[in-house]
């Protein structure tokens, strides 16, 4: 059993937290894991990615080979498309549909949506709106993790437990908000 995930978005969007929850959950289920992250050179505002490999067998390479990721989990719609060369044939894209506009030449959103319409295995949700409804737009990363959870070979309970552990020091209201966001994301994804 193996899940290779490309996790992507824009620096500052909370990808490290998604990665951390996946790590805790994988450890809890006694799975092998490698997570390769990009740090440094003020990635804030730049495109960022993380390779997450979870498997019942030992993981060799820290990087996912091209065309081997079963899932692209993105918190930004253009960023998801940037990593398509890593997606396996028939692999899934689960992405937030809200663009992060910080460059002058960001493409028209309709042209991005056109790309998604031409693909079969894509789940696009408005994570910002769902997160706001749960209490804070900042939890959109956990909405996305919830939405992607049905494509990850880890129990949702393990992920939710991982989330609780990650936010443990921030108090119960932050934990509840993020749990709610996770659950709402999962529901939204299943409903599509």
């Amino acid at each position: 059993m193996k899940t290779d995930i490309i996790l992507c978005g824009v620096g500052g969007q909370g990808i490290i937290s998604i990665s951390a929850v996946l790590g805790i959950a994988a450890l809890e289920e006694n799975m092998h894991i490698k997570q390769s992250e990009i740090h440094g050179m003020s990635q804030r505002g730049g495109s960022v990615q993380s390779h997450v490999r979870i498997s019942s067998n030992p993981v060799a390479s820290d990087l996912i080979p091209l065309a081997n990721a079963g899932l692209i989990l993105s918190v930004e719609p253009m960023e998801a498309l940037r990593y398509l060369p890593w997606l396996s044939p028939g692999g899934w894209i689960v992405s937030n549909n809200q663009p992060f506009l910080n460059i002058p030449d960001y493409p028209p959103v309709e042209s991005l949506m056109q790309e998604y319409k031409s693909r079969k295995n894509a789940v696009l949700i408005n994570a910002d709106e769902i997160a706001s409804r749960c209490g804070s737009a900042k939890a959109s990363n956990m909405v996305m993790l919830g939405a992607a959870s049905r494509f990850i070979h880890l129990k949702p309970e393990s992920l939710m437990h991982g989330l609780e552990k990650l936010f443990a020091q921030k108090g119960s209201s932050v934990i509840d908000l993020n749990l709610k966001a996770f659950d709402a994301g999962r529901q939204a994804s299943v409903a599509l």
Partner: protein, 526 residues
């Protein structure tokens, strides 16, 4: 023991803590920064504060070793250039308490100005080098490196690359050791490298080479799997081993394999696999060090494949895909990047103080023409790109000040440089002293955001000290000016900056406003 999920950097730090270090020394630099940060977070009772630069860090660690305690020093690959003097000489003095040096290389230059391979430094200094392939090995090797360092009385180098430094995986720790007690070297003149004494110490280091080789031959980290069949033999160094295993899990590569993680090269092991192979493929990250050594000067009668013969690219980090094609597997993308996707490069944050500085500087420099501003290493290097196009150099820590002086010596006027506060105290101060001694007409702009911001906002040695430092170096107090880079001050900043740039002697203009990231974090905490 407990299983932890650790970055390669953190695994090294945990290994050092469990080896009983008393001191951790470093200057921030991607991808090595998290080693110190982990020790600061988890190492109670261990001295763990940032040093002014890599050279001071290395010497402080050597001093702790002199006093009989275990110490580690960590830096990025180019930091080892800064620390090269004490590094090379520490191999001659040897150590008392165990001393382990970590150099984190950055092939593909994710966040660096070159991709130099620190294994050459290990060979240069003639000391043992470890190159872990996994986070677990990073932990285990760090522990063993301290034992090896004390067994032979030499520093030991651990070389990692970005890929391992910033990848997380499970690590199992072993029983921690207590810190060593203070004890001075048995040989009182060990650390005195007067020529007559240094010659003796050097002979000692040379005599140890045989033992280092024996240690490599029997290292648990160097593993020969000698399947016969006349196939291509593979030497897989460090993380190259992972990429081989990606395509041949469970060690089922059909030919001879040598997993190489401890140097000097285990010549006997290589000889054995060499004899059983029709050709050899070398998988190594960084420069073709092993491949070059196998080739020698005269052609060998076997095809050595790697980065030199074009089987793998000469530059950039290894990837599972590059290794796949070197092994003869097809590499195919199922999907391509749609043309609608555009690059999203890193940029200065909204509200960044560097941006306001560059707006003022650009306005002043319009009247003097392009190409007269040098700069340095930090977030502010992004000022070389649009919309600022403000600076024309980024070479090494501190080089903005000295290059500005050299250009002024050549007659270029005005000659201006932009340097960050932490970079200034790292390596800019001595260059400013040169300019003061010669009364050189240069303007040193210090963009003081009161943090080592690019690597995550570590504390800067310069904070609240810059004016006093510049005065102490001999800059006339009339030409040390502090400005606040905010939009509302723009016109006034332009006026004062212009005046100092026109001054025909050394002047310092400090643009002081805290990094918005560290400021936001501070306010969140309070």
């Amino acid at each position: 023991m407990e299983k932890m999920l650790l970055l390669g950097d953190e695994a090294i730090a945990q290994g050092a803590l469990d080896a009983g270090i008393s001191g951790m020394y470093a200057y921030p630099g991607t991808p090595s920064t998290e080693i110190m940060e982990y020790v600061q977070a988890c190492g109670s009772g261990v001295h763990a504060l940032w040093s002014a630069n890599e050279k001071t860090a290395m010497e402080e660690a050597l001093g702790m070793s002199y006093a009989g305690k275990r110490a580690m020093v960590a830096m990025k690959h180019v930091g080892l250039n800064v620390a090269a003097d004490p590094f090379m000489n520490a191999a001659i003095t040897g150590v008392n308490g165990g001393l382990v040096i970590v150099a984190a290389d950055d092939p593909s230059m994710h966040s660096s100005q070159n991709e130099q391979d620190s294994r050459y430094y290990g060979k240069f200094a003639q000391i043992p080098v470890f190159e872990p392939s996994s986070q677990q090995e990073a932990y285990d090797m760090t522990r063993d490196a301290f034992d090896l360092s004390e067994k032979y009385g030499v520093p030991v180098l651990i070389r990692i690359t970005t890929r391992l430094a910033h990848s997380r995986s499970q690590v199992e720790s072993r029983t921690p050791l207590p810190q060593r007690s203070l004890h001075l070297p048995e040989e009182p003149l060990q650390f005195v490298l007067l020529p007559a004494l240094a010659r003796k110490r050097y002979k000692r280091l040379l005599a140890l080479q045989k033992e280092f080789m024996e240690s490599s031959e029997h290292s648990p980290y160097n593993l020969s799997i000698l399947k016969t069949g006349g196939k291509t033999g593979v030497i897989a160094c460090g993380t190259g081993w992972n990429y081989l295993n990606e395509w041949f899990p469970d060690g089922d590569y059909p030919g001879p394999v040598l997993k190489l993680s401890q140097y000097p090269l285990p010549v006997k092991q290589i000889q054995r696999m060499f004899d059983q192979s029709a050709s050899i493929l070398v998988l190594e990250d960084g420069y073709p060090l092993v491949e070059e050594m196998l080739n020698g000067i005269f052609p060998v009668n076997k095809h050595i494949k790697g980065r030199l013969d074009g089987t793998l690219p000469r530059d950039g980090e290894l990837t599972p895909d590059l290794v796949a094609s070197a092994l003869g597997f097809p590499v195919n993308e199922a999907y391509h990047i749609p043309s609608v996707v555009v690059p999203r490069p890193p940029s200065l944050c909204n509200g960044c103080s560097h941006a306001d500085l560059y707006l003022a500087l650009d306005e002043v420099m319009k009247e003097f023409g392009k190409g007269k501003v040098f700069s340095d290493i930090g977030c502010y290097t992004l000022g070389a790109l649009p919309p600022y196009n403000a600076i024309y150099s980024c070479v090494d820590m501190g080089a903005s000040v000295t290059m500005a002086k050299g250009a002024a010596d050549a007659g270029m006027t005005p000659s201006v440089c932009v340097i960050g506060d932490s970079t200034f105290t790292h390596s800019g101060m001595t260059g400013l002293l040169d300019a003061v001694i010669e009364n050189t007409p240069v303007t040193v702009i210090i963009s003081d955001n009161s943090a080592t911001a690019m690597t995550g906002g570590q504390k800067s040695h310069a904070t609240d000290r810059l004016v006093e430092i510049c005065k102490g170096l001999g800059v006339s107090p009339d030409h040390i000016v502090t400005l606040v880079p905010l939009r509302k001050n723009h016109q006034e900043n332009v006026r004062i900056l212009r005046k100092e740039i026109l001054f025909e002697g050394p002047s310092v203009v400090i643009f002081q406003r805290e990094c918005i990231q560290t400021s936001a974090r501070r306010h969140k905490k309070n």
